[in-house]
């Protein structure tokens, strides 16, 4: 019976039901988006290391070094000498050392110089090595060949056989086009890591590019390091960083990225607070919407009471109506969430190469709608009390 009363009231007030549910949907979708993007981006960024344990670079910020060498964001903190690379490569604790030379780009997509071993030997996640799309292969050292990350290739519309001139600097503004002409020989299969956003060429290609400083032709931007054992990371951390020399050893990568999120945690808090405020306003809109219609509904309530409905029945019907609006809005909130989260995920992928999966299970999918439904239910209590108190005889009396 209660459900029938709720259903018919919702049907009778269909327009205000939809408008109110729409405001709940916006609030619910916003809260879920903020929550999912916050939790998932923290987890995904902290887990993104492209298969490496540490980064060696010039003296400076570890975070800047990781952002530059792993995420291909930020500028390089400086160069290191080839001898430093050789030294770390030969260290008994180091399993693999992949040099990087950075600083050029093409149409805004970063170009990185590295060695063939990156795509031949390295597992970017345990058990997964880089693979080339059909018809592609790795570049050869000493050649003017390039391998393109899947996302960059897709955005640039590049396929094997495409040629291009690297641009000096990290953006198209300023700088100049190098005269070297590179040919794309391979497009990587998607890895859902920042590697997808980079154009890869042989190391010496960047080092000796026309217009680059010939004195720095052997220098490197960073070295990506795989260790034989995690304990070695602490040892190298002590040896290199504590020595206060010209190098920085960024280890462990996940903790350093987590620092970034700690630094911007205030932003998360502001967004979450905003989402909760929107939630409270939405619940308030349910209260106001039903409360404002109570005068018009009083007669219907009095009639129901005259037909034998108990006070608690009409109270339950109003609270239930508010809860159903909340539940309906929360359900629609998943549509809003789908749109917002997909947009945010696309932006993050474009900017950082990190792929979020918004529909991956998150507890907010359960407690978010429950909280919204609960808030709306609470919002329904005030008009429900008004319904509970409707004086039957006075209200039902014919209007003179």
């Amino acid at each position: 019976m209660l459900w029938n009363l709720i259903y018919r009231s919702l049907r009778q007030h269909a327009l205000s039901t939809l408008v109110t549910a729409g405001s709940i949907a916006l609030a619910s979708g916003l809260l879920m988006t903020v929550w999912v993007v916050k939790t998932q981006s923290q987890a995904v960024f902290a887990a993104t290391n492209s298969g490496f344990d540490a980064v060696l670079g010039a003296r400076g910020s570890k975070l800047q070094l990781v952002l530059n060498a792993i995420f291909h964001l930020e500028a390089s903190p400086g160069n290191i000498a080839a001898t430093d690379f050789e030294q770390i490569r030969r260290h008994r604790a180091v399993k693999a050392a992949i040099p990087l030379a950075l600083g050029d780009s093409h149409e805004g997509w970063r170009i990185a110089g590295t060695v063939e071993a990156l795509f031949n030997d390295i597992e970017y996640v345990p058990g997964k090595r880089y693979a080339f799309a059909a018809g592609g292969r790795n570049f050869k050292l000493g050649s003017q060949e390039a391998v393109v990350g899947s996302y960059a290739a897709q955005q640039l519309g590049w396929k094997v056989g495409r040629t291009f001139h690297p641009h000096h600097g990290l953006s198209e503004e300023g700088g100049h086009e190098h005269e070297e002409n590179y040919i794309v020989v391979g497009v990587l299969e998607p890895t859902n890591t920042p590697v997808d956003r980079v154009i890869w060429i042989p190391l010496e290609g960047v080092q000796t590019m026309s217009g680059h400083n010939p004195l720095a032709a052997t220098e490197l931007s960073a070295v990506l390091i795989q260790l034989r054992a995690p304990t070695a990371g602490l040892m190298l951390n002590n040896q290199i960083n504590a020595a206060g020399g010209k190098l920085t050893f960024a280890y462990p990568i996940g903790s350093i990225v987590a620092e970034l999120f700690n630094k911007i945690s205030w932003f998360d808090k502001v967004l979450t607070l905003l989402a909760w405020l929107v939630a409270v306003v939405a619940a308030g809109s349910v209260l106001v919407s039903i409360y404002n219609s109570m005068s018009a509904r009083a007669r219907d309530i009095a009639i129901l009471r005259a037909l034998g409905a108990r006070r608690r029945t009409v109270f339950g019907a109003v609270v239930g109506e508010a809860a159903v609006i909340g539940a309906l809005g929360s359900a629609l909130g998943f549509v809003v969430f789908g749109i917002l989260a997909a947009t945010v995920a696309t932006i993050i992928r474009a900017q950082a190469g990190v792929v979020l999966e918004p529909w991956q299970w998150n507890t907010v999918f359960a407690w978010g709608p429950a909280v919204f439904t609960g808030l709306c239910l609470l919002g329904g209590v005030v008009p429900a009390i008004k319904a509970y108190r409707v004086p039957v005889a006075e209200t039902i009396a014919p209007v003179a």
Binding site: I303, L307, G308
Partner: protein, 226 residues
């Protein structure tokens, strides 16, 4: 044994100028099962209050109302609601149909809080009222005469022992009033329900074999309260 027995029933309201105004003062009143009785009463004579007291919508100041072997005045509000839902059918002057509900839904509401919704019975009642093709209509889509017939069907939906009718023809033209009254009396007779009807319309009152003047057994001074 009477279906309804009222003794020493008193009900007062706060008076506009302070103090209280007695509206109902009925020393004794009774109605047998299946009986049909018309009460004559002018506006403000307290007859609607009297019906509301019998229906358990209002609680009296004192006195006794015995309905179907249950003492109403000792029951809590929830139990009065339950008794009303299962025992009483109420027909209002202004029909009091729920505008957001269809004709069929309005009739179903008449039984929902008592014996429970029974679609076949609701459909049969509407057929009896000549509204078999109006199930999905909303009250606003019906004539006033049709609306009153829906109200009658709703009042009979819970198979009541007592039907209370408060000026049921007050909003109808002469022809519709005659038809509605005939329908109410016939259907109450068919279902075995007692009928207590109040009206100030002499044409209505003249239809009844039993008629009493409300002011004869209500000793409260007449005022401007329904």
């Amino acid at each position: 044994m009477s279906l309804l027995q009222v003794t020493h029933l008193l009900k007062s309201y706060p008076a506009p100028g302070g103090g209280v105004q007695q509206v109902v003062n009925v020393p004794a009143f009774a109605l047998g099962a299946g009986e049909q009785l018309a009460l004559r009463g002018e506006s403000g004579s307290g007859k609607t209050t009297f019906l509301n007291l019998i229906a358990g919508i209002l609680a009296p100041d004192s006195g006794s109302i015995r309905l179907a072997d249950q003492e109403l005045t000792t029951l809590g509000e929830a139990r009065r609601d339950r008794l009303r839902a299962g025992t009483i059918g109420y027909i209002f002057q202004t029909f009091n149909l729920l505008q957001g509900h269809t004709v069929l839904e309005n009739v179903l509401l008449g039984m929902a809080f008592g014996p429970g919704a029974n679609r076949p019975r609701a459909a049969a009642l509407l057929q009896r009222m000549g509204l078999a093709d109006k199930h999905d209509h909303y009250p606003r889509q019906l004539s006033t005469g049709q609306q009153q017939r829906v109200a009658v069907a709703r009042a009979l939906a819970n198979q009541p022992k007592l039907v209370l009718a408060d000026e049921p023809t007050g909003n109808l033209d002469r022809r519709n009033a005659r038809e509605a009254l005939q329908l109410i009396r016939e259907t109450c007779r068919e279902s075995g329900a007692a009928l207590l009807l109040v009206s100030h319309d002499e044409r209505v009152l003249a239809q009844f074999e039993q008629m009493q003047d409300f002011t004869h057994f209500n000793r409260a001074p007449t005022g401007a309260i329904a």
